[in-house]
Symmetry: D4
Subunit: 164 residues, 8 copies
Amino acid sequence: MKVLITMGSDSDLPVMGQAAEVLKELSVPCDMRVVSAHRTPELLFEVGRTAHEQGYRVIVAGAGGAAHLPGMLASLSPLPVIGVPVKSRNSIDGWDSLLSIVQMPAGVPVATVAVDGARNAGILAAQMLATSDDALRERIISFKEALRDAVAEKAKRLAEATEH
Amino acid sequence: MKVLITMGSDSDLPVMGQAAEVLKELSVPCDMRVVSAHRTPELLFEVGRTAHEQGYRVIVAGAGGAAHLPGMLASLSPLPVIGVPVKSRNSIDGWDSLLSIVQMPAGVPVATVAVDGARNAGILAAQMLATSDDALRERIISFKEALRDAVAEKAKRLAEATEH
Amino acid sequence: MKVLITMGSDSDLPVMGQAAEVLKELSVPCDMRVVSAHRTPELLFEVGRTAHEQGYRVIVAGAGGAAHLPGMLASLSPLPVIGVPVKSRNSIDGWDSLLSIVQMPAGVPVATVAVDGARNAGILAAQMLATSDDALRERIISFKEALRDAVAEKAKRLAEATEH
Amino acid sequence: MKVLITMGSDSDLPVMGQAAEVLKELSVPCDMRVVSAHRTPELLFEVGRTAHEQGYRVIVAGAGGAAHLPGMLASLSPLPVIGVPVKSRNSIDGWDSLLSIVQMPAGVPVATVAVDGARNAGILAAQMLATSDDALRERIISFKEALRDAVAEKAKRLAEATEH
Amino acid sequence: MKVLITMGSDSDLPVMGQAAEVLKELSVPCDMRVVSAHRTPELLFEVGRTAHEQGYRVIVAGAGGAAHLPGMLASLSPLPVIGVPVKSRNSIDGWDSLLSIVQMPAGVPVATVAVDGARNAGILAAQMLATSDDALRERIISFKEALRDAVAEKAKRLAEATEH
Amino acid sequence: MKVLITMGSDSDLPVMGQAAEVLKELSVPCDMRVVSAHRTPELLFEVGRTAHEQGYRVIVAGAGGAAHLPGMLASLSPLPVIGVPVKSRNSIDGWDSLLSIVQMPAGVPVATVAVDGARNAGILAAQMLATSDDALRERIISFKEALRDAVAEKAKRLAEATEH
Amino acid sequence: MKVLITMGSDSDLPVMGQAAEVLKELSVPCDMRVVSAHRTPELLFEVGRTAHEQGYRVIVAGAGGAAHLPGMLASLSPLPVIGVPVKSRNSIDGWDSLLSIVQMPAGVPVATVAVDGARNAGILAAQMLATSDDALRERIISFKEALRDAVAEKAKRLAEATEH
Amino acid sequence: MKVLITMGSDSDLPVMGQAAEVLKELSVPCDMRVVSAHRTPELLFEVGRTAHEQGYRVIVAGAGGAAHLPGMLASLSPLPVIGVPVKSRNSIDGWDSLLSIVQMPAGVPVATVAVDGARNAGILAAQMLATSDDALRERIISFKEALRDAVAEKAKRLAEATEH
């Protein structure tokens, strides 16, 4: 029941590492790998075709510009693939990354999150695994409650600061 | 282990019905409901907060324009939510629907598919459930093989037609 | 006859505080609250449903990215809601914030101002209240005259500087 | 307590007439006028400067392309101005109309609704007047309940149709 | 035979001053004025209606965001109006300024140049006056030759630097 | 004192013919020519370099897609060049035509009008010639008055139709 | 010295067939194949890795939406790959197809032509082969002359029609 | 068998120099020249018409804003032209450069690479020449293998760093 986090380049690590972080917070095991659709196509094929045989249940894939990694993994693997559009140095403000990932043809979905939204990709991967893991779903519920409480705390502080 | 398909308006049915169709092809049970984030907020709340207690494991939500249904369900429910941007009559070519759904803030992901990509939303829902259901994963593998064979068949016919 | 200013996150305060400032200049009372559509949905509901019972007559709501706060408040409250698209760190240059707020479906309007246009949101809130408050309308007329005079002063200085 | 509905051209009438319709449903009196910022600038000035002296309390203004009517009326009048971007024949899919109306500079707000969203402009005008008119606010609350009931009815019919 | 350079705010001066500079290089007299369509509408009207009676033959107008100054001057004056979209602090990357200026309705043209293209606005103004001034046309021809020679010089230096 | 109207393809004639029409209404002589920047570069050069020697005082140029005709004529000729972005069959909604024409580098302006705005290009050409032709300026003033009267007439009819 | 034309789906044939047509006009042999990056990834790999061993010297690849075929072929093959963004039914006006193809990362170019520009892809393929084939370059020169003559002919007819 | 690298301005050199670098790595001779479509049209014509007679077999052309250099060279020369959209200071985030280069009309292709993608332009030029040069194709194959190995090395280091 592991998650595989892949990225097109190690320059995507500052963004994609956030997926690993949140999975750790939720106690979901994951591995990280650099796989470039365009520079290591053989590796792409091998990873795409064998991930589900190696204990992975969800793939997270981040890439920038003409981002083909998530879509090609979705083509090769029966696992659900979560795509993270990365606003890399060469991207046109993230538009190319987003459209290259989300606009997949019928038959081959990629579950796309926001530009640079790797943290959400990790949460989504956990939610997918939680479809059959009640304890994990409870941890997700607690996680959402903690989000709510953090905002409530900030809200309270703002209210106090602006009150007279 | 059911999927809940929701849509903001019954005018979204021609698009969103494709999610139900593909789930039927994959033998995954689902229900369909009209829930408008903007016109029936109470219903939205009730559905969002209780879906996971009623046997649903994945939510699919389609909406157009300033599309808030998928994001609000993701806010309320611990279940994974798949968002379908619908290119409705009032949408600016689908850009508003897409951005309103995919650009969710950290902590609350929506698994976004292509504009009008409801069929892919259904497949993705099945893939999520298949993370713990080997038989379903096998059906998904067969489904992908059928896709491949259909293209191969067309490819062959084109090759024959253009060959001399 | 108070205005309620809400924002999705306290990181929106530098922008949204400008609405409070201009309301103060116009002697219109207001309160500020952090309410996150995605992280504190229960609070959203409570605020949306009760604001008009607590003496508020206009709601100003700012949010970034897939910005659902203004639209959901407009769904829940009978009060006029003014939406401020915030160009937050995660926004695609403000396009997502703008479209998520302005493209509301028929029946549920949000009065949208420019990206980061919180000052204008405050002025607009005052104009709404002035529909039944002649003294406030007089203050708005004076406010506009001051704007005009400030530009006229700059125009004069430029004319003098470039004249020969 | 009347609403003034203006439009840049009589070709905008099919869209802008929807503002008048919904105001009639809500029993709010209104007048309609063609005023072109670019072709009848004198009329624009006269209307902008005198509307508040003629019993109007809100201005609704619709225009397409480089749409200057709402912003110029907001410049001239102390009244709140609601802008409707019209997707006219010469518009680039409504983008020019939307940006020309919503991106007003600090000091001169226009309350912008969705592209072709004249019906929402009418509702918003009524909400503005309701800030001091409890009976009108009650009618708006009923109006929203009717919206909710219409969706609930459709939701029910869909549920029955897809149930087994 | 003077050119009138107008701008919506003195913050546009660093850009708009470039129009004055190039007109000086071409020995075409010009005046500069701050005129805000939204904050000084009376001044706008006066300038628009009287410019042609005060010896001006071309108007250059720069503005940012929802930029109405060029279009309103074109509405009021029989003179040709050159519009400069300014990428101001509040502009969405210049898109709003550009579309608000260029997409004018039939009957009221604005001669639009590139975003922040004030230097070109000055050249264009000179070209318009040169339609009846052979000496000025000769200066424009020399000006273009100087441009060509400057590039040719750079080209030569690059050729020498990269040659072996 | 003639105007030269050029277009990249005879398929642009329905749009570009409107420039000729309005020039005829204003009694300004003009000629029309098909000149393709990409298919007839020699003709482009000849026309660009000699137009001002053949009695032309303004060039109007329309083209679609990657529209290089206006910019190249502006490069070659000392005359003012008015560019009309044409929304041709291969254009991406006119965006490519517009940006290819308006975003000219410093030194080489093109006076750009709205997408498909050939009628405005004709008016603008007349305004340029009127910088030294008082009788033509009077005709332009009358032309604008006729526009105003036509709108006033429509406004009156709408007022009568909606009055009670 | 053959060209391989590939497309993601047989629905792309009306567009992509134009590449074959123009190659035929230029007497350059070509084959056409349907290869889907997402539905037949094995075929993609085989074609990409072996095309240069089967006598092909240039690959033309057309695809729509999140178009990965051209980029993946460029990843796998040492041959130059020409990408044709196809404005398919599911594309957002061609933007997704264009950006998915053109924005390739450093090291793996795709020679991108206009949206639906398959005819140009064919010409470009011929130009690439002509780098070492003088006879073919001569045919390309004649081809361009024919283009020029066709435009000249139309230009002449327009001149005659509008002359007096 | 040389490549000619051209650019609209010497300010494009930091980007365009990357094309020369990669050609050097691949042992393909090239020359660099500044040629401005808009400022040195005569030079443009001369270069475009004679490049193929001077031993050049491919042209690379980079330009920003309304970028006409690649398209005009493609119009004038029978050689394949590779266009590099440069995100210059005056460009609207590269959109204008990209669309001005890629959206060429039927008959006159430009092989467009990514915004600022000059390195890829160099690789593509080499690939074109390799259509008839087996030794160069071998060098390209080695080049791609080196790319793959570099990514594999990074992938390995990341795997080691994140392994436990």
